[in-house]
């Protein structure tokens, strides 16, 4: 499984999950887990997704997330989950 983390930071407003997950759906990326919280006053949403069947390369997904972020006025990033596994799992 090629897992990645989508992180959304900014101000809480309606439609964030809808917009981000629609974009992911269009790229055939499956959402595995969602968590959201307020951190230092900022809305923070984290999504763990499975990119195994994604229809486009990673860089294109990242570009698409950028577009969605601009659209909804939030910072939307995607990064491979290997990073977190490496750091926190032996």
């Amino acid at each position: 499984m090629k897992k990645a983390l989508v992180s959304v930071m900014g101000v809480d407003k309606p439609g964030i999950i809808a917009k981000v997950s629609t974009a992911l759906f269009e790229l055939n990326i499956n959402v595995l887990e969602i968590s959201q919280t307020i951190l230092d006053g900022y809305f923070t949403m984290l999504m763990i997704v499975d990119m195994t069947a994604a229809t486009v390369p990673f860089a294109d997904v990242a570009a698409r997330m950028d577009v969605v972020g601009n659209d909804i006025g939030e910072s939307v990033n995607i990064q491979r989950a290997d990073l977190f596994d490496a750091m926190h799992r032996i």
């Binding site: 983390l5 992180s7 887990e33 968590s35 919280t37 951190l39 923070t44 984290l46 763990i48 990673f58 860089a59 990242a62 990033n77 995607i78 990064q79 491979r80 989950a81 290997d82 990073l83 977190f84 596994d85 490496a86 750091m87 926190h88 799992r89």
Partner: protein, 448 residues
């Protein structure tokens, strides 16, 4: 499954605590480039470097985007040039500088020589060319190894390096002697160091290799900020755990980069490398341990522990650890060190003591422009002696800023930062330095 709090911790490290991969450095052997003339060699060097490292920057940038961790520098180290050069090393220097520009790396290291026991004709020519080379090139760095635990100290090379540093400073006087920031004088130089300016690709290395240097003084500082008042045992454990996490990311990046570049993975260098940014300082870690500033009594002990715990935490996180692996204590590149030097709390003599217990040496220290070549050579000899006797790598990177006196400030910009000119003990040492010859290697029994 990864826990949300672990994700948040990683993201805070990156976004708030300046955690980054400091460098992906590709080591390239130039031994196959040696031709009949230096001009032909230079052409072969340019061709090999641009071919081998053509994808380096792109791969670094892709990995940075995919993992979301900044990879600050992409660099190249090459075989010490004196092994392939003849009477005109300048031609090869210019080819290396051009190659670096062509592939988009900010520094290329290896314009140097290994002279710990003596010098060849080519090495003498290369040494001679150094001041002009570092005046005329932009991205080239070099180092000279003048001593080792097994062979002692080559005092002829030490004396010459004093003059070369002086001359380089004079030729680059318009930038306060910045040329000297690209020259490192080593004892016990390592062959797989990915950090500049001292990186070179040793002769024991493979054809091509990828080495990665991690960093993260800010991450360690932050971890320590949460355990004030706790005993040293807790301090040690906290540093180890933090170093482990940082190094794991270095290992991941190194393995991925090697795979994508199609070259073997060499080592991860565990060094804590500061930058002039606030919150990215090794000196601030010492502060967090309870010292008012770097240089206060206790500094050497604090640094000894920090250095050792970084290694202990890091070795388990990587399959191959190497390079310089320790805490760097440059002056101009560390805001906490700059502040301590400005306040007069940190002197060159105290730093010399600090270098006995940590990586690497007297680094990026600006000294008065009228410091004599022999005084510089004396400082190099002292530092090399520390390395030789303690079986560790030591280095000297001094900048005698032309026209500046103690108390002035020089600004090198970017990652090189700015530095107060530090006072140098200028008592005469001419007879000592000018003796020449070699200091024999130390005995390894009867250690007291």
């Amino acid at each position: 499954m990864i826990e949300i709090n672990e994700i948040m911790q990683t993201m805070q490290m990156i976004h708030e605590q300046h955690f980054d991969i400091r460098t992906i450095t590709m080591g390239i052997s130039l031994l196959s480039c040696k031709k009949n003339t230096d001009r032909e060699t230079a052409e072969a060097v340019y061709e090999k470097v641009t071919r081998s490292a053509g994808k380096l920057v792109a791969v670094g940038e892709t990995l940075e985007a995919e993992l979301g961790v900044p990879i600050v520098n992409k660099r190249i180290s090459v075989t010490p040039v004196s092994m392939i050069s003849g009477s005109d090393p300048m031609a090869i220097a210019l080819a290396l500088d051009e190659a670096a520009k062509q592939v988009g790396v900010n520094f290329i290291g290896g314009f140097g020589a290994l002279m710990h026991k003596g010098s060849t004709i080519a090495e003498e020519c290369l040494l001679e060319s150094m001041p002009e080379v570092f005046q005329k090139t932009e991205r080239l760095c070099g180092s000279v190894n003048v001593g080792s635990t097994r062979s002692g100290i080559n005092m002829d090379a030490v004396r010459k390096m004093g003059h070369i540093i002086k001359k380089t400073a004079e030729l680059t006087a318009d930038t306060d002697g910045f040329g000297c920031a690209k020259i490192v004088v080593f004892a016990n130089a390592v062959e797989d160091n990915p950090f500049m300016a001292g990186a070179f690709h040793g002769v024991g290395e493979p054809e091509c290799v990828v080495n990665v240097g991690v960093s993260g003084p800010g991450v360690v500082q932050r971890a320590l900020s949460e355990i004030h008042g706790q005993p040293f045992d807790v301090l040690a454990e906290t540093i180890k755990r933090t170093a482990f996490k940082i190094t794991r990311v270095g290992e991941l990046v190194a393995q991925e980069a090697a795979k994508r570049l199609g070259v073997p993975f060499g080592i991860v260098d565990l060094s804590l490398a500061p930058t002039p940014a606030r919150g990215d300082s090794v000196a601030y870690i010492l502060k967090e341990m309870g010292l008012e500033m770097a240089g206060a009594p206790g500094t050497t002990a604090a640094l000894a522990m920090l250095n050792d715990m970084v290694k202990k935490g890091g070795v388990m996180a990587s399959s191959h650890v190497g390079g310089l692996s320790g805490a760097f204590i440059p002056v101009s590149e560390d805001i906490g060190m700059i502040e301590a030097a400005q306040a007069g709390c940190l002197t060159i003599e105290k730093m010399e003591a600090m270098t006995c217990v940590c990586s690497v040496g007297l680094d990026m220290i600006a000294i008065p422009g009228d410091t004599s070549a022999n005084t510089i050579a004396g400082i190099i000899a002292d530092e090399a002696a520390i390395g030789m006797v303690n079986n560790k790598t030591t280095a000297v990177r001094l900048i005698p800023a032309p026209g500046k006196v103690a108390g002035d400030t020089v600004n090198f910009g970017g990652l090189f930062g700015f530095a107060p000119i530090m006072k140098v003990n200028s008592a005469n040492n001419d007879e000592f330095v000018e003796r020449g010859g070699r200091i024999p290697p130390p005995l390894h029994s009867l250690r007291n």
